[in-house]
C-alpha cells in the first residue's frame, strides 16, 4: 500500500477497493498514479483530499462547478435571447414579419436557415470554454 510513483516510469493505473457501495460514509481510498507528474506526492495528496471531502477538496470542486454552471447559464441565456425574442417580435411587428431578403421572406431565413450555424457556433464555444476550465483545474491540481 505504500508503493509510490517515485520514478514516474510506472504505467498509470487505478485500483478501487473491491466492495463498492454508494451509501457508506467511509470514503474510499483511491490511489491514482499519473505519468509525467512533476511532483507525484502532491498530486496524490490533492486527489486523496478531494476524495476524503476535506474542506480544501470541497472548495476546489465547488469553484469548478460554479464556474461551469455560470458559463452554461450565460450561453443558455444568449440562446434564449437570440431565439426566444423572435416569436414576440413577429407578433408585435407585422412589418418585420413581412420583409423580404433576396426574394425570400425574412422569417423563413431566420427560422429555417440561420439558427443551425448559430446553434453549432454556440456549442463549439461552450466546448472550448468547458475544456479550458477543466484543463485549468487539472493543471492546478498537478502543480
Amino acid at each position: 500500500m505504500s508503493r509510490h510513483a517515485g520514478d514516474g516510469r510506472q504505467p498509470p493505473e487505478e485500483r478501487e477497493s473491491a466492495r463498492e457501495s454508494t451509501s457508506t460514509r467511509k470514503p474510499r481510498r483511491k490511489r491514482v498514479v499519473l505519468n509525467d507528474s512533476r511532483n507525484p506526492v502532491t498530486v496524490v495528496r490533492v486527489i486523496t483530499e478531494l476524495e476524503e471531502q476535506t474542506s480544501v477538496g470541497e472548495a476546489l470542486v465547488r469553484n469548478l462547478v460554479r464556474a461551469q454552471l455560470k458559463m452554461a447559464l450565460w450561453l443558455a441565456l444568449l440562446t434564449a435571447l437570440l431565439f426566444g425574442g423572435l416569436p414576440l417580435a413577429f407578433y408585435l411587428s407585422p412589418r418585420f414579419a413581412d420583409t423580404s431578403v433576396f426574394g425570400v421572406r425574412l422569417p423563413w431565413l431566420l427560422l429555417g436557415v440561420l439558427p443551425f450555424p448559430v446553434l453549432f457556433a454556440i456549442g463549439l464555444l461552450y466546448n472550448r470554454l468547458a475544456e479550458r476550465h477543466e484543463m485549468d483545474f487539472v493543471n492546478m491540481v498537478e502543480s
Binding site: T22, A76, P87, L88, R105, P107, W108, P115, F116, V138
Partner: protein, 593 residues
C-alpha cells in the same frame, strides 16, 4: 394511391440491407453488456452518425414538411427546437451524465439519489415516453407504405415492427448502432438528392406551378378529384364551386356545392370532392387560409403566440429527457468524448434540417390537394411525381420513400431497444433471454396502440412526448447535476406532478379531437405550464425534505464534475453486469469504416 414499383424495390432493399447489417454484427453480441450498450469501442464519428440517425425520426422527415405545407412558417420551430434541444443537452447534461456512469435514466436517478423506488418510477415514465414517441413512427410507416402500394395503413406498421423486432432479437444495441449509422446516410442522400433535383426543376420553371402570391389560397391548376378517407373540417378564403359526393355538414350531397368563406365544412369519411381547374384549395379549419397568412409567422393571435412558446420550451428542454437518446450517450468513453459527440450531432442535424423545410414550401405549390385530405404528412412522398413526372419522378419518389422507411426503421429500433433494455433490467434480472422477451413485449404494445388510435399529425404526437420528457426527466437531470440539495422525494414529486399534468393534457386532447376540438392552447401544448410546475415542485419539496439528502452527495457531485483525467468515472453497468467479453481482432466490425 398508385403503385410505384421502384419504391417497393427501394423499401425492399433498405429492409434487406438493414437485416444483413444487423445480423452480421449480431453474431458477436452474446453477453448482456454487449446487448445493452454497444461498447465504448464505437468510434465517436460513427456514434454521432448513429445518434443523429436515430434522432431523425419520421417526425423530422415527413412531419415537418407536412406541417409546413399546412401551417406555414411557425412550424419551423420544430426543426429549430429539435436542434436547440441538443445544445441544451450539451450545456447542462452531456459530460456530467456520462461521468455518472449511469447507463439509463432510471439508473442515473438511483445513482444520484440512492432510491430504488425513484428508479422504478423513472422506469415507468421511460416506457410511457418511448411508447408515445413510437406510436406516431409506426403510423407514419403505415402511411408511407399505403402511398406506394394499395395496402391499408396497418400493413406498414406491422412490417416495421417485425423487421425491428427480429433485428433487435438477434443483436440488441450493437447491431442497432451499425444499422442506424447506415440509415443516417441513407436519409441524408434520400433527401439531399431529390431536393436538389426538385429545386433545379422548380427554378428552371415548371409550367404547372401556381405562385405563392399573397392573399390568395393555393390553387388547383387542373381539374382534381379528391377522395377523402377520413372526416375533415375545411374552410375557404373565397367562394369555391365544387362537385361533392358524400356527407357535408350533415347533408348528403350528390352534385354541385358552393363553399363560402366564413363557414366550416365538415366533410364525412369516404366522400369525394371534384374541383374545377383554377379553383382555390380549401384548407383545414385550424390552419391559415390564405397564402399571405401562411407566409407570415404568428398570424394566429395571442393564443398562437403562447402555443409557440410552449412548443419551444417542450422541444428545448425535452431532448435531454428522451430515454433513447440518453442510452446511446453512454457509449462514449468519457465526459469529454460525450461533449464532442454532441457537438458533432449538432452539426449533422443542422445539415439535415435544411431539406424538409425547402420541400415543405415546394409542396405548398405542387401538392395542395393534401390540404383537403388532411394527410399532409405524405407531402414529401408525392412531390417528385408531381414535379418531375414520368420515370424520373417515379425513381425519385422511390428514393424518398426508401429514405422515409429508413427513418422509421432506425427510430423504431432505437426506441424498441431502449424500452426492452429498461424493462429487462428493471423488471427481470438482466439476462440475455429476458432482453429478447422484453423486446417482443415492447413491440406488441405500441403496435396495438398505433393500429387502434386515430392518425394524428406525426410531429404533434412527437411534440407531446417531448413535453412529457421536459416535465419529468429534465428537472431531475438539471437540478440533480447542478444542485446538491436535491432529494429523492423532491425528484419523485416533480416527476409525478409534471408527468401527471402532461398525461392529463394528452387525455383531454384525445377527447377534444373526438368532440369538436375545443381544447385551448395549454392542453395542446402544455409545456409552458407543466415544466415550470415540475421544476417548482422539485425544488420546493426538496427544500422541505432536506433530511433525505444522500449522505455522500459531495462524492457523487465530485464524480459528476471532476475532469476525466482525474479518474473518478465508474461505469455502473460494469459494476452490475461485469465487463464485456474479450474482443476479437476484427473488433466485431466486418465492414471497414
Amino acid at each position: 394511391m398508385e403503385l410505384n414499383p421502384s419504391a417497393i424495390v427501394g423499401i425492399g432493399l433498405i429492409g434487406a440491407v438493414t437485416f444483413y447489417l444487423g445480423f452480421h454484427s449480431s453474431r458477436l453480441a452474446n453477453t448482456t453488456p454487449d446487448f445493452l450498450v454497444a461498447r465504448r469501442i464505437v468510434r465517436s464519428r460513427r456514434n454521432a452518425a448513429a445518434i443523429t440517425g436515430e434522432y431523425l425520426s419520421a417526425a423530422s422527415f415527413l412531419g415537418i414538411a407536412g406541417l409546413i405545407l399546412k401551417d406555414g412558417v411557425d412550424t419551423l420551430w420544430y426543426a429549430v427546437g429539435f436542434t436547440a434541444g441538443y445544445l441544451a443537452l450539451l450545456l447542462f447534461v452531456a459530460a456530467p451524465l456520462r461521468r455518472s456512469g449511469a447507463y439509463t435514466l432510471p439508473d442515473f436517478a438511483e445513482a444520484r439519489l440512492g432510491s430504488v423506488g425513484l428508479r422504478r418510477l423513472a422506469t415507468v415514465f421511460v416506457v410511457v415516453i418511448s411508447v408515445l414517441y413510437l406510436v406516431p413512427q409506426l403510423q407514419g410507416a403505415g402511411l408511407t407504405l399505403s402511398t406506394v402500394m394499395p395496402v391499408p395503413a396497418w400493413v406498414g406498421s406491422v412490417v416495421v415492427v417485425v423487421l425491428v423486432a427480429v433485428n433487435a432479437f438477434g443483436g440488441g444495441m450493437r447491431s442497432i448502432t451499425v444499422v442506424q449509422a447506415f440509415q443516417y446516410w441513407v436519409k441524408l442522400v434520400a433527401l439531399a438528392l431529390p431536393t436538389f433535383v426538385l429545386i433545379v426543376v422548380f427554378v428552371g420553371g415548371h409550367p404547372a406551378a401556381s405562385p405563392l402570391s399573397a392573399n390568395t389560397s393555393p390553387v388547383f391548376t387542373s381539374q382534381k378529384s379528391i377522395a377523402i378517407p377520413v372526416a375533415v373540417q375545411l374552410q375557404v378564403a373565397e367562394p369555391v364551386r365544387v362537385q361533392a359526393y358524400g356527407v357535408v355538414n350533415g347533408f348528403r350531397n350528390n352534385g354541385p356545392l358552393l363553399m363560402a368563406p366564413g363557414i366550416f365544412y365538415k366533410v364525412g369519411a369516404n366522400s369525394t370532392l371534384v374541383f374545377p381547374a383554377g379553383s382555390p384549395v380549401p384548407t383545414p379549419s385550424d390552419s391559415p387560409d390564405t397564402n399571405a397568412a401562411w407566409l407570415r409567422p404568428q398570424s394566429g393571435g395571442l393564443s398562437a403566440l403562447f402555443s409557440t412558446y410552449s412548443l419551444i420550451v417542450a422541444l428545448f428542454l425535452g431532448t435531454m429527457g428522451l430515454p433513447h437518446v440518453l442510452v446511446r450517450f453512454y457509449t462514449n468513453p468519457n465526459g469529454r468524448a460525450a461533449r464532442r459527440t454532441t457537438l458533432h450531432v449538432l452539426l449533422l442535424l443542422g445539415l439535415f434540417y435544411l431539406f424538409p423545410t425547402m420541400l415543405g414550401a415546394l409542396s405548398r405549390l405542387y401538392t395542395p390537394e393534401l390540404l383537403v385530405t388532411g394527410q399532409t404528412d405524405a407531402a414529401i412522398l408525392l412531390l417528385p411525381a408531381k414535379l418531375v413526372g414520368g420515370m424520373g419522378g417515379e425513381v425519385l419518389g422511390a428514393v424518398i420513400v426508401a429514405g422515409a422507411f429508413a427513418a422509421f426503421l432506425s427510430t423504431s429500433s432505437g426506441l424498441l431497444v431502449s424500452i426492452a433494455g429498461v424493462v429487462s433490467t428493471e423488471a427481470f434480472p438482466g439476462r440475455v433471454r429476458d432482453f429478447r422477451w422484453a423486446t417482443l413485449l415492447a413491440a406488441l404494445v405500441p403496435l396495438v396502440l398505433a393500429l387502434s388510435l386515430p392518425q394524428a399529425d406525426i410531429s404533434l404526437s412527437v411534440g407531446l412526448s417531448f413535453a412529457l420528457a421536459a416535465s419529468t426527466f429534465c428537472p431531475v437531470l438539471v437540478v440533480g447535476i447542478w444542485w446538491r440539495r436535491l432529494t429523492w422525494v423532491g425528484a419523485a414529486a416533480g416527476m409525478v406532478v409534471g408527468g401527471g399534468l402532461v398525461l392529463t393534457a394528452l387525455v383531454l386532447n384525445i377527447i377534444s379531437e373526438y368532440t369538436g376540438s375545443w381544447a385551448p392552447w395549454p392542453v395542446v401544448q402544455p409545456a409552458l405550464i407543466t415544466v415550470p410546475a415540475a421544476f417548482a415542485t422539485v425544488i420546493i419539496v426538496s427544500l422541505c425534505t432536506q433530511d433525505k439528502v444522500p449522505p455522500d452527495v459531495s462524492r457523487i457531485l465530485l464524480r459528476l464534475h471532476a475532469p476525466d483525467p482525474l479518474g473518478f468515472i465508474r461505469d455502473r453497468d460494469v459494476a452490475r453486469f461485469g465487463p464485456a467479453a474479450p474482443q476479437s481482432p476484427t473488433d466485431g466490425r466486418h465492414h471497414r469504416g
